[in-house]
Amino acid sequence: MDPGHNLIGGWVRDARVRSAAFQTVVAVAAIALVWWLAHNTINNLAQRGITVGFDFLGRAARFPISESVLPYSSVDTFAWAFVVGLGNTLFASALIIVLATLLGFATALARRSRNPLARGIGAAFVETMRNTPLVVQLLFWYAMVTLGLPHPHDALNPLPGVYLTDRGLYIPWPRIADFSFAMEYPTLGRFNYSGGLALTPEFTAMLVGLVFYSAAFVGEIIRGGIDAVARGQWEAGRALGLPESLVLRRIIMPQALRVIIPPMTSQYINIVKNTTLALVVGYPDIAFVTATTINQTGQAVEGILLLMIVFLVISIGGSLLMNWYNRRMALTVR
């Protein structure tokens, strides 16, 4: 190379210079775009007389939340309303994850069973759940509960103490009071059942819809994990004289879990994200609280920012946890 010869041409052809120039252009364009959008937003908000900031969080929310795990009344602040919504989201997610895993495991076993009836039911269940939108399923279950079930006076009573009505589900629940422990059964009052544990139609529709939908995906992940274990492992287990259930528990599942856990973690994160759809049946989760808050205060930027932060923390936290677990598994394997 001759440094004196055609200096400009040399610069243009230098890969490092070109890369630096390209990256500078990309970075400047990205920053300019963000700045332009922010600038427009601030202008528009000023025009509408909306002050940017999180001051509104300290004000009284003044909207009802129909049900919550944490105590709430409409004189509480917006900040607390968000926490209550998040509590509902996390509570519902945890419950759905547990139930969907159990149902998913049963689905996986049914689909791998030698019984053609069980296989057929399993396949039909998985295909129906996976090929129709979750929103449609949630609305379907909501219609089933509120319109398909009878009034409290002629409630369905499939198990003793369990009542299915169009006002919700009532199941016996233990009450602990004054060092005594007793099952409390729902009893029919003038208009409705009281006592025991009452699940609202919204909660019921959300729970049934999300558990069924998620169970199909969870079931396929578990089935994939079981199928990934070599057939010889089953045969070896049987050859040792182990009963089928012990082969599954002691030989297959420990090996299958290594295949199952990474996709299962993302599925669990998906379940948390999917609970936001409970909004369509009116279950007051964090998305519902955010939407109501934005409606009432006009603090759209702040509300959406809070919602984004919550879900990014959950998603990224979940991925980090999974990566850490994967590294640990990799170390113990070899």
Binding site: A27, N40, N115, I121, E127, L139, L242, L277
Partner: protein, 368 residues
């Protein structure tokens, strides 16, 4: 090695009786149903539940089902199929002017024809891509009107199945170029595009689609200069496009990783520029590899379009719900949702079966 016996958890002491040979493929049905006690119990349990449920379902759907008649015939009866018979234009086409109904019908036909045309592998050519672009533009003109003597129909009057199909086609079609850029960016050795791509992909995938729809429908109008309004349909489309782009980018990344590095090196050795190498050597191989998972992504996109309900667009689901608001009928929600779910099922099941077949038959298929 003397303490081995203490570790053993299970040792069978006596030999088992020889087992009968396992039921083979040609075993009689009753043998596969009742091969063991557990199996027989499962058969009886499932059979019992089916025997209890099927007559009830039949009584609701068929025996007491109303196939003809009006709203009064449906009161205190079983399934109100007559409602679907009366309202299916509303469910499938929304509030689109009924005199112009041939247009959405033609739109569905065009999209169906294009899809069927694309199925055989021999049709995966540039011409097909051109056909899709031309077809999509034609479909948009057909829906909107305003030229060629077609009555203009504002997007607020579009509805039903055409919206669902259009949102799917457009969000995949518009998302794909972005996805290619994001996937290439993520694979790049340059830190700026790399971290920008990782950030965009991970943030989008970390958020529920609902929140992205909120951003598009509430924040996007605020982010644009004053006086600049953006159509509701376009806002929902923007959200779905961003979402599809991030998911497709991750699928493409798998394909890019599957192209041997020697391919790129050989291209550079032949004197191709980075751009030529990417366009002519890397991307064609990467995309071919991931066509089966890409097809499965389309199923996710189809299902996701149903979420536009929350921003007030009239897709298939919302149109169905709108049809239910008629005081002359006893609001047969279940039947309507069954019809909507069945429509989605036909589309999604068809696509996922096709993806499965591609996975099985494609040479050097999706085995990552």
């Amino acid at each position: 090695m003397s303490n081995v016996t203490h570790i053993e958890a299970f040792v069978r002491r006596e030999a088992l009786a020889a087992l009968p040979p396992p039921p083979g493929r040609d075993a009689a049905l009753w043998k596969t149903l009742f091969s063991s006690v557990g199996n027989a119990a499962a058969t009886l349990l499932i059979g019992g539940v089916l025997l209890a449920a099927i007559p009830q379902l039949m009584s609701w759907a068929v025996v007491h089902g109303v196939w003809n008649g009006d709203g009064d015939a449906c009161r205190d009866a079983g399934a109100c199929w007559a409602f679907l018979r009366a309202k299916y234009p509303m469910i499938l086409f929304g509030i689109y002017p009924s005199a112009e109904r041939w247009r959405p019908i033609l739109v569905i036909a065009v999209i169906l024809a294009l899809t069927l045309w694309t199925l055989p592998r021999s049709h995966w050519t540039r011409t097909t891509v051109g056909l899709w672009i031309a077809g999509t533009l034609a479909v948009l003109v057909l829906m909107g009107g305003g030229i060629f003597g077609l009555t203009p129909v504002p997007t607020s009057a579009w509805g039903g199945l055409p919206i669902t199909l259009l949102l799917t086609v457009l969000s995949v079609g518009l998302g794909f170029p972005f996805a290619v850029m994001l996937a290439l960016g993520r694979q790049s050795t340059m830190p700026v595009p790399r971290y920008l791509s990782i950030g965009l992909i991970e943030i989008t995938r970390g958020l529920p689609l609902l929140s992205i729809l909120f951003i598009a429908s509430i924040l996007l109008p605020l982010m644009l200069p004053e006086g600049f309004t953006i159509d509701k349909l376009a806002r929902a489309l923007a959200a779905l496009t961003v979402f599809s782009a991030a998911y497709i980018a991750e699928v493409l990344r798998g394909g890019l990783q599957g192209v041997p590095t020697g391919q790129g090196e050989a291209a550079r050795a032949l004197g191709l520029s980075w751009f030529q190498m990417t366009r002519l050597i890397i991307l064609p191989q990467a995309i071919r590899k991931v066509i089966p998972p890409l097809t499965s992504t389309v199923v996710v996109v189809v299902k996701n379009t149903s979420l536009v309900l929350v921003v007030g667009l009239f897709d298939l689901l919302s149109s169905g719900r709108a049809a239910l608001v008629d005081p002359l009928w006893p609001a047969p929600y279940t039947e309507t949702y069954i019809m909507i779910a069945a429509t989605y099922f036909v589309i999604c099941f068809g696509i996922s079966r096709y993806a499965l077949r591609l996975e099985r038959t494609m040479p050097n298929g999706s085995s990552t």
